[in-house]
Symmetry: C2
Subunit: 134 residues, 2 copies
């Protein structure tokens, strides 16, 4: 089951070997204990974990935040997990709302582009305005 060497893992996850080692130092990824003076092996679980880290980063989480999310995946005491989860959830929903507004606005822009020509001005900033001064 533990089929990959570190470079195999890196390749499977689409990152650099050094990145794996960096994540290990940061505690985002465990270093499997190596068979007495030998070489560590990794499995699919680690690949998924690295992919998760990368995906979470793309949507704006820092590595510290990713660590918290991973804690939830790893299993924590319920009360604590719930606290973290609720906190993150609020956060996630706020981002979701912003992203959705950008999505809508960009979609409209593309549509307008298809029918008109010349300059277009896309009210992107307005899309994320908390309370437009009107």
């Amino acid at each position: 089951m533990q089929t990959f060497t570190i470079s195999g893992l890196a390749q499977a996850a689409g990152v650099n070997v050094e990145t794996i080692r960096f994540y290990q130092r940061r505690g985002l990824l465990a270093e499997p204990d190596k068979p007495l003076g030998g070489i560590r092996r990794y499995g699919e679980a680690e690949v998924a974990r690295v992919l998760f880290i990368k995906a979470a980063q793309r949507i704006g989480f820092t590595l510290d935040e990713v660590a918290q999310l991973l804690q939830l995946d790893d299993g924590t005491q319920c009360a604590e997990a719930r606290a973290i989860a609720e906190h993150k959830l609020a956060d996630v929903r706020a981002r979701l709302a912003d992203l959705q507004r950008i999505e809508t606005t960009l979609t409209q822009l593309v549509e307008r582009c298809a029918t008109k020509r010349g300059k277009v001005c896309c009210p992107l900033i307005a899309a994320l305005q908390p309370a437009p001064a009107r």
Copy 2:
């Protein structure tokens, strides 16, 4: 209408003065021409712009990407705008999907937490798996 000094702008947008100047150097924010050896003034538009930059960053855009989005807001030739917009849109939709899956999973976790006790393990990683090895 141009009511703020740079520190007023910074405060209104909830960032550091140096950040404003940094954005100006990066071309994300124009430097209004100053009244002959005097002090520049800013308005609500700039506040909104900085807030947008910050919001976009929170959902994972780099400053270079933000610059592209701002270009759309500022008005560009249609063909070019459309190309950028479509590109960003695909990007935005991918992030949206990931965020939504995290949202769902976190919500489920919180629910389970409310009814059970002891350890919980939240399949967060699985939520973002491209194709789970089964």
